[in-house]
């Protein structure tokens, strides 16, 4: 006879087995069409490029080496690959600035929504959600229509007589900045709102009672309270911005490449799949570091408040 304990143990084992069976289809699909292929990228980054794209199955570290170095065509010495490094640098710089700009515009917007009466809040929130769910391509195209030489901004400025020639904004870093800030703004507002909504305004009142002015209250009371939202929003903007492909392709032109476009180039005209693989993995590594930073600071926040 099995004891009650054994029966319970058996039931638990069966429960866990059932749970594995239930989740198996999702896990298998993700392994086959997302995680598994990433492992293949690791292998490809150590192979030799084939003459017409693809790879030749011969071990080589050139793919990784060319991420930061290039061989001088005259004396075969290794020098830093300025072209790649400057694209890394531009991607990091633009993503960082996008994060700052979305924060500068997004924080007051989220604060405005969070301080509306409850009924109104949903309406404003809905107005943020719509651009968020609008196709990225359509939003990028929409920004293009505004900043083109014949776009609204230039037309209005010329009509007002402020300028006589249209200002060239398309295909510049400025266009990329505007475009990415526009595209990623909702990603910043939503987590900020989630944090701001929970603020206990009695704390703000206490701040005023202690003779703080509005700016001091903002800096010393509100911002520290919504720090988790600020960090979450920044991560949510920074990571996709770093890997952005569509926005720089449409607004940036060929001279203003970002990492995403550099990677694509290796699989297209560049015909250097190992280098493309190594670049992809480098991008992924940077993203992982950013996520790790987020998890750590989120953990600290949770610890401090919990």
């Amino acid at each position: 006879m099995a004891s009650a304990e054994e029966v319970a143990e058996e039931a638990e084992r069966r429960d866990i087995r059932d749970r594995w069976l239930l989740s198996a289809p999702a896990l298998i699909i993700i392994f086959l069409a997302a995680t598994g292929p990433l492992l293949i990228v690791v292998i490809y980054s150590f192979l030799t490029p084939g003459p017409y794209g693809d790879v030749v199955w011969k071990f080589s570290t050139d793919g990784w080496l060319s991420v930061v170095m290039q061989r001088d065509i005259f004396d075969d010495t290794l020098v830093f690959a300025d072209a790649h490094l400057s694209i890394f640098w531009r991607s990091a710089k633009l993503s960082f600035m996008t994060t700052i700009f979305t924060l500068l515009f997004g924080f007051p917007t989220a604060y405005f929504i969070a301080t509306r009466p409850t009924r109104q809040r949903n309406v404003w929130l809905f107005l943020i959600t719509i651009p968020f769910w609008t196709n990225l391509l359509i939003r990028t195209f929409a920004i293009q229509e505004v900043i083109r030489n014949e776009g609204i901004v230039n037309t209005v400025l010329i009509k007002l007589g402020i300028i006589s020639q249209p200002i060239q904004m398309m295909f510049t870093d400025f266009a990329l900045m505007v475009g990415m800030t526009y595209v990623y703004l909702p990603l910043m507002v939503l987590p900020l709102y989630a944090s701001l909504e929970k603020i206990d305004f009695r704390l703000v009142e206490a701040g005023y009672d202690l003779y703080a002015n509005r700016f001091q209250v903002l800096r010393r009371v509100i911002v520290p309270l919504v720090k988790p939202g600020i960090i979450a929003g920044s991560i949510l903007v920074f990571i996709p911005a770093l890997g952005a492909y569509v926005t720089p392709r449409v607004l940036g032109g060929t001279k203003n490449m970002m990492l995403g476009n550099l990677i694509e180039l290796q699989f297209g005209q560049g015909r250097n799949w190992p280098l493309g693989s190594a670049l992809s993995l480098s991008l992924m590594a940077i993203v992982m570091v950013a996520l790790l930073f987020y998890v750590r600071s989120a953990g600290r926040q949770g610890g401090a408040h919990g």
């Binding site: 896990l27 993700i30 007051p108 359509i138 929409a142 903002l218 890997g243 990677i263 694509e264 993203v287």
Partner: protein, 268 residues
């Protein structure tokens, strides 16, 4: 009445918020307005007309790409929602068991990796399989879309499940319901709004995808977004505006329904 000191006010915040809302909608409204332009420019207004909607409707490439988009999104969203529902049932309302953390990591993995990296990985993997099997149909796009839709379908379903009490299912089991019957008669009706929200989220995500589709598609497999991306390199006519407007309308419709479903959930 004298103005009271409002502790919630911050100088300039309302102005910035208004600028943001204006800036968010100005470009979108411009696109929609010029879709109705009678002229063939997207900058000079020449009167109201529906000609570009007719032109898009009669453009075989546009119709083809739209049908392909809908086909892929339907298949991917349906499969993703079914497997995500199963996965959500398997990962909620239980004490931690070995492998639970691993499952979370796996299910959320497509969200963690930049899209361009996944796109490149799939390009490499699928091009191998294409050589081995000779198959080059829509299956690759459907598989790729299903995979990245799973986490999006999973999120609302899991959120809904976590707020559901197990006691009703236990009661059903006490009344000799089989696990399947308990699911069909108790769990599913309660979980339904979460599943619907997950399905719609997955559908929109699949419909919107550009990057992964651009890398995975074979020749002649343009979806609506990749078709539009290709058109940006040419002279743009308001036809693109007309397509965008219809696309926008569909997205707004789905989002509105989604918004109301999830709001109802909050109020319960």
């Amino acid at each position: 009445m004298a103005s009271r000191f409002d502790i919630r006010r911050q100088t300039g915040f309302t102005t910035i918020a208004m600028i943001c809302f204006f800036a968010l909608y100005l470009p979108i409204v411009t696109v929609v307005v010029y879709a109705f332009n009678a002229g063939s420019s997207i900058a000079i207004w020449e009167g109201v007309s529906l000609r570009w909607f007719y032109q898009a409707w009669n453009n075989d490439q546009v119709v083809d790409a739209s049908m392909r988009s809908l086909q892929i999104a339907s298949v991917a969203a349906t499969i993703a929602t079914i497997v995500a529902t199963m996965a959500a049932l398997a990962t909620t309302r239980t004490k931690p068991y070995p492998g639970l953390g691993l499952k979370y990591a796996f299910i959320n993995q497509p969200l963690m990796v930049p899209e361009i990296v996944t796109a490149v990985a799939l390009l490499i993997f699928f091009s191998r399989i294409k050589i081995w099997t000779g198959y080059s149909g829509l299956g690759y796009l459907m598989a790729a879309h299903t995979a990245f839709c799973i986490p999006f379908a999973y999120l609302p379903i899991r959120a809904r499940l976590e707020n559901m009490d197990l006691s009703l299912e236990i009661a059903a089991a006490d009344l000799y319901a089989t696990p399947w019957k308990a699911f069909r008669r108790v769990t599913f009706p309660l979980l339904w709004p979460g599943i619907l929200a997950g399905l719609m989220l997955a559908f929109v995500i699949s419909l919107d995808d550009v990057v992964i589709t651009e890398f995975v598609k074979s020749g002649g497999q343009d979806t609506l977004p990749t078709y539009m991306l290709g058109q940006f390199r040419r002279v743009i006519t308001p036809e693109i505006n007309a397509i965008s407007t219809v696309f926008l309308l569909i997205s707004i419709l789905i989002v509105t329904v989604f918004f109301f479903i999830s709001r109802k959930k909050d109020q319960e």
